[in-house]
Amino acid sequence: MDPFDARLLIVTGKGGVGRSAAAAAFALAAARQSKRVLAVAMTDSSGLAAHLGRTSLTYKPKQIGPYLFGLAIDRARALDEYLKLQLGIGTRAPLLPIARSLEAMAETVPGIRDVITIGKVLFEVQSEEWDLVVADGPPTGQIMSYLRAPRTVAGLIPGGRARRQADTMAETLASADSALAMVTLAEELPVTETLEALAELQAENPIRVSGIWANRVIEPLGVSETSLEEVASLAARNAGLLHRGLYENQRRWRKHLPDHGRLPFLFGVHGPARVASLLADEIVT
């Protein structure tokens, strides 16, 4: 599966599966192929920033490596931009109170937070500045609500500029230029959640799924039963048993997944930037 056959790649995954690491790895891998890449943090930006070797990301795209730029969505500023640029509400209008009201409502009203966030991502895609926009997206449990947001909002608004904007957003997401990568672990809960989201995605088709990636995959130990039982070192035997047990379990859960890519478990490597860089090696090869 080619993760870079699109101009927008949204990465999703249940909390704790390594979604931000994978998103950073996709961005790095594409930048290494001399694509001009923008990595966008759609929700909490600390994870993506760390995996890109930064302490934070800014709302204004900033270069963070060769061909690689980073951006963190600040909802209040995205909203301001949305009102000014997308809806053509003049700068003389009292934007601050509206922005604050919408901020308050974005906490409660389904669709608003999501459409503003996804709107900013699509705005960057449409800007033609980037060969690829990689978005570190919301967790799997929320991804449908984000992807549905443009249609939800379009359904709420009878017509006018905001309606046209929402329609355009939905069209861009559904086009061949946009793709979703789903990251999971080969464990019961994340696999179940991924399969549930896949079923919803197939039913509603807001975006095409370009790949499913199993993260922290353990490869087979490659040692016979007898040599494992006969090894004198208790530590070596226990490490072998744990490895084999994890491999067997993962294999069982991976069988539930459709065709998927594999990202390896990185023994002893935990520095976020190093993790992303090693995963990027795996994606390219």
Partner: protein, 339 residues
Amino acid sequence: MTDIVLVAGAGGVGKTTISAGIGVCAARSGKRTLVLTVDPARRLATALGLDSLDNMAHPNPELGLLWAAMLDASASWEAIAHRHAPPEVADRLVTNPFFEAVATRFPAGASYAAGEEMAEEVESGHWDMVVVDTPPSHGGIEFLNAPGQMKSFVGGRVLRILTGGRIPGRNTLFDRAAKPALRLLDTVLGGELLEDIGDFLFDLRHTYDGIARRSQSIIHHLEHASMVLVTTTDAAPLAEAAKFVDQSPGNTRTPIVTFNRSLPESWVAPRETVIDPKLAFNLKRWGAEAEYQRDIRREWRATHSGPIVNLAWRASTPNELPALESLARPVWAALEMGR
């Protein structure tokens, strides 16, 4: 007197499994125990006797003193509306399209609902112990802050922001002519939506007295609760664990920090020689992982006080009562010590 154990931590660290294990240990020691759990994997739910999808407490078929209930934010919020608002307002609230959103999407909503369930069960006097598996947002700190946030939300914070000042009457909220900001908001969102939101927020204010009172009792219960903070040595859950410790209100108890998926320190520099090259290589790479874990735990000890428990990394997640009990046994021992 009901003892409360609050189990916090980031998603994916094994919090739900450990909560269940603590429940098994408590029931085995003769306590009438309720485990309030969030989104358990199917096989764990089965082990707990939670095959139906309601949010009622069910006894365990194998262990009579162990009961479990699923925390379901939507169902809890329906109960909260009926508990705290007049019947006709409650009926209106639960059918409002925004109700579901507040119950499940407003970050404090799910946590508050869990807190209210906890308070209901604790105050019922049925239980010797209630174990609460906290909803996974911001590593559990949300659970401690939710009562206060909910009180201010229901008290009209959003209404005040929407109208730019004091809470107005129903008619003045929609006097758009007087408020250019509202006129614009109307253009962006459509008038009906704005009115629905306004109606909802007005109705929600009826629950204020009840929620304010309940928030106080939840906060009181939390002060007496034992805390178990589950993490792994991975950077993200560890950062959430640190945040939980740093931001916990001063009057809550020091958590038992539980490092799940721990490897033995003896793997770091094993003295035995291993002849099989594949097994030697395997021990070396797992030794590197064990070394990283050891360093992280040392760093935690150097910067945080309080008890630490290490739970061994198991190849498969336990989901039968004996395995759950043996997994959580060290946490249970630490809880007994702290009492």
